[in-house]
């Protein structure tokens, strides 16, 4: 676990500009070559409440959030009251001089003097914060100038004045700060060249790299940032992003577009996906490729709309009536969000099946510093065929079950689909022998998916006594927990599933059987992956660490739970 990291927590009410402070600081850190790990905790309201933007930063890779706070930027009294217990020994509070900081080490800032108008207070806080972590002011000046440039020189100048005043005010204080070690990345005049990116942005970009050009959606936190990212780039890349009346419409519209040749994706969260299940089944029956980004939040029902959970694995696995193949990809990092989103389109087309990307609010909103993606390393994804002879048969019985897919209206081929059981040429049938043949044909495609799946990956100790098994976004915390537990005496490794369906037991049984203690770590209350593996292999988890309070895992949470259950 990186000992060199600093954890900055910016807290306040919604509407106070805490995300602006956080994003500027994070961006500046990324430009300077530092690693960042942002966790956003916000309430389901537009104004008021208590929200936080946490940046854990340092020169070494950072994989997960931590509880401890080194620098607490409090935009209101509540932030101090709620988070003072998390402050470390070397910690400091940055707060307005009017707030009661008790006997905590604090920089009590005269915001009224530093910022002529309340609107500049967040820039003043940014100045004090940057100065406290010894961040170069020129870097921030460039960022502010670039960001506020559109608003005119006067606005830029006013912001810069406040920034400088606040930065210099901190320097004059009799307060010793410990600067972060220098970053490990070469930083040129244009910055480190690294990108600050959230999980959902990476899913959108990975989809675009795969050629995604159609995304109908109905807004639902925490998935909406995917269509938003797509529409922001839509002008240059020609993506149809249509907000529709409900998720039923979104799903079926995407299927219609896919049928007609588009590379289509839908993005939603649990409640919205519940409405899409009927369409998932239609995709299965009509063998229409579709990518589904299911960004989980705690349920049931409206649940905790802005928090995180991994409780919809079963929903994705069993969504849609009837039996048909599917794949469920579960990225663990921002980089994997990109890679798996790209791969999802490939798998969907090659298996003509629904393919899920299962992420959650934590990773969706979490900014990281990532190296630019090498687009040449991602092969172009094959689309459907445009030509076929007039005797074309849409669901021809071929050995692997994947019949050549032709787009309607591009050739003399007649393309016929039916949601009823159908003959190979797509016509409705109630011939029960045909039914068996067609059902078998569709199910055969599972082998195509299984042959080309992401194997579970081992991290940390390769030959551990204790194995932490996790999937999706729990990867980072599990890795840090493994290091912590190893340091406490027992060799601990991680097995991460970046794909939870189909499962190929040969790929992971030796890892499960090789460890003395196998602990499943999942962000749900019932251990859904553990249950699935037991169902598929008979293997019973020795222990489970489950979290379902809406917050992401940390190393300490996992390690404490493992130790307590000893």
């Amino acid at each position: 676990m990186p000992e060199t990291s600093v954890n900055i927590l910016v807290g306040g009410e919604a509407g106070q500009g805490l995300v602006t402070i956080g994003e500027f600081m994070a961006k500046a850190l990324v430009r300077s070559g530092y690693e960042i790990h942002v966790t956003q905790d916000y309430m389901s309201r537009v104004r008021g409440g208590h929200n936080t933007f946490a940046i854990r930063t340092g020169p070494d890779p950072i994989w997960a959030p931590v509880e401890d706070v080194d620098i607490l930027v409090a935009l209101d009294q509540e932030t101090i009251d709620l988070h003072k217990s998390q402050l470390t020994g070397q910690g400091v509070v940055i707060a307005d001089e009017a707030f009661d900081v008790g006997d905590l080490p604090a920089l009590s800032v005269p915001f009224k003097e530093l910022a002529p108008k309340p609107i500049f207070r967040n820039v003043a806080a940014l100045g004090v914060l940057a100065s406290t972590i010894c961040h170069d002011i020129e870097d921030l000046e460039q960022l502010l100038t670039k960001t506020f440039g559109k608003k005119g020189d006067e606005v830029v100048e006013q912001n810069l004045e406040v920034l400088r005043a606040a930065y210099n005010w901190r320097k004059e204080q009799d307060f010793v700060v410990e600067c972060m070690p220098p970053s490990l990345v070469d930083v040129g005049p244009e910055g480190s060249g690294r990108l600050m990116m959230q999980g959902n942005q990476a899913i959108a970009l990975g989809a675009l790299a795969a050629g995604c050009n159609f995304c109908p959606f109905y807004p639902m936190t925490p998935s909406t940032s995917i269509p938003l990212a797509l529409s922001a780039l839509g002008r240059d890349l020609g993506v149809v992003v249509e907000q529709v009346e409900d998720e039923i419409s979104a799903m079926n519209m995407a299927l219609g577009a896919s049928f007609a040749g588009a590379k289509a994706m839908v993005a939603t969260s649990g409640g919205g996906f519940a409405l899409m299940c009927e369409g998932v089944s239609l995709a299965g029956m009509t063998e229409t490729p579709i990518v589904i980004a299911l960004i989980q939040r705690p349920g049931p029902a409206t649940g905790l709309p802005t928090r995180t959970e991994q409780a919809d694995l079963n929903l994705a696995l069993y969504a849609g009536h009837g039996e048909f193949p599917r794949a469920i990809l579960t990225p663990g990092t921002v980089e994997e969000c990109f890679e798996l989103a790209h791969k999802a389109f490939d798998l969907a087309e090659r298996s003509q099946s629904p393919v899920f990307i299962l992420s959650d609010q934590y990773l969706a909103d979490s900014y990281r510093s990532v190296a630019p993606f090498d687009l040449n390393a991602y092969p172009q994804i094959e689309g459907p065929l445009l030509e076929a002879d007039p005797y074309y048969v849409r669901h021809a019985l071929v050995p692997n079950g994947v019949s050549p897919r032709v787009v309607p209206g591009t050739s003399k081929a007649l393309v016929v689909l039916d949601s009823d059981e159908h003959t190979p040429d797509g016509h409705i049938t109630e011939d029960l022998d045909v039914r068996i043949r067609m059902n078998n044909k569709r199910l055969k495609k599972a082998k195509v998916l299984a042959r080309d799946m992401f194997q579970p990956v081992r991290y940390e100790d390769e030959d551990p006594e204790r194995l932490l098994v996790c999937w999706g976004t729990t990867l980072g915390a599990a890795r840090e927990a493994a290091r912590l537990l190893t340091s406490l005496g027992e060799r601990t490794g991680v097995l991460h599933f970046q794909q939870v369906w189909p499962l190929v037991p040969e790929q992971f049984m030796s890892a499960l059987e090789g460890a003395r203690e196998v602990v499943f770590v999942e962000g749900n209350a019932t251990g859904q992956l553990a249950a699935l593996i037991r169902q598929q292999t008979g293997f019973v988890a020795h222990k489970q660490v489950l979290r379902y309070d809406g917050l992401p895992f940390t190393a300490r949470y996992i390690a404490t739970a493992v130790e307590q259950s000893e």
Binding site: F214, P216, R235, D236, G238, V240, E242, V244, E245, D246, I248, S249, A250, M251, N252, M253, A254, L255, G256, A257, S258, F259, A260, G261, A262, A264, E278, G279, L282, T286, V407, P408, G409, S411, K412, L414, V415, V416, L417, D418, S419, D420, G426, H427, I428
Partner: protein
């Protein structure tokens, strides 16, 4: 073989599905004929037509015509069709739905497809009943009428699809009946030809599930009823409230030229591209 029959035969999948599923006296075959004649009259190549059907008796029409066809799920035909149209705007997309399909389970999609004014021709075959599933009432079952699920008479008011489509913003809204086949053909043709969303409600009797329960002695009585009570809009407007009772106006109720969603989208994309290049 008459000339009309010859035309129809050019567009049927002869090796498929005949004899068809429609009951004696059903109006859906007349709609099928009208649809084919409309496409023929407009000279559309078969490969450029995509028919998206819902589920129910009307949905089966898709299986007989030699166009690209999708027999989709109950209520979702319009959403699927919108995806097809946005993905390939050069296709003529025709949706065939029943009254339950379009106004109950798919009612929200109907409203929003009309609001979007996407260039799709929506044919809603209104037989006032769920035929295929055994005669349950639909949102267009008239007040007081008997259905399997309204054994003591329908208590609820029926949907007026024309008013619905017009209020929601469809470019073209018409109501025809299978008794007035030439008029119906003209409406379907106009709907296909015009930009934007075209909604054609088609009164198409179901003797088996509706007529028998509602005092029609034979299918012919139902056509006679249409002849007498499906009155041209112009005449209907001149009628007193009392005379209007029990009658239903047919004709064109909205004719607008607003560009379809796919066209507005293409224009916006071109404008943004130009701005970006400038």
């Amino acid at each position: 073989m008459s000339h009309v029959t010859e035309i129809i035969h050019q567009y049927l999948r002869h090796n498929k599905k005949f004899p068809h599923v429609f009951c004696p006296g059903c109006g859906h075959g007349i709609v099928l004929g009208s649809l084919i004649r409309s496409v023929h009259e407009l000279g559309l190549p078969k490969d450029d037509v995509a028919v998206v059907a819902g589920i129910g008796c009307s949905g089966r029409i898709a299986a007989y015509v030699d166009f690209n066809t999708i027999h989709s799920t109950h209520g979702r035909a319009l959403t699927f069709a919108t995806g097809v149209k946005m993905s390939n705007p050069k296709l003529h997309v025709i949706c065939i739905m029943g009254d339950g399909d379009a106004t109950a389970i798919g009612g929200n999609h109907l409203i929003h497809a009309a609001r979007r004014n996407v260039s799709i021709t929506a044919l809603v075959l209104n037989n006032n009943i769920y035929g295929m599933t055994g005669g349950q009432c639909s949102p267009t079952t008239p007040e007081g009428a008997s259905a399997m699920t309204t054994p003591y008479g329908q208590l609820e008011k029926a949907f007026d699809m024309v008013e619905l489509g017009r209020a929601a913003g469809a470019n073209y809204v018409a109501r025809g009946s299978v008794f007035q086949a030439n008029m119906l053909e003209r409406f379907i043709r106009t709907a296909i030809e015009r930009p934007g969303f075209g909604l054609v409600e088609i009164l198409s009797p179901c003797y088996t599930q509706f007529g028998r329960k509602n005092h029609f002695k034979t299918p012919v009585d139902m056509y006679r009823w249409l002849k007498e009570n499906a009155v041209p809009r112009e005449s209907w407007e001149k009628m007193t409230e009392e005379k209007r009772r029990g009658r239903i106006p047919v004709g064109e109720f909205a004719i607008n030229d607003a560009p379809g969603l796919e066209q507005r989208y293409a224009e916006m994309a071109a404008r943004l591209k130009e701005e970006a290049e400038r």
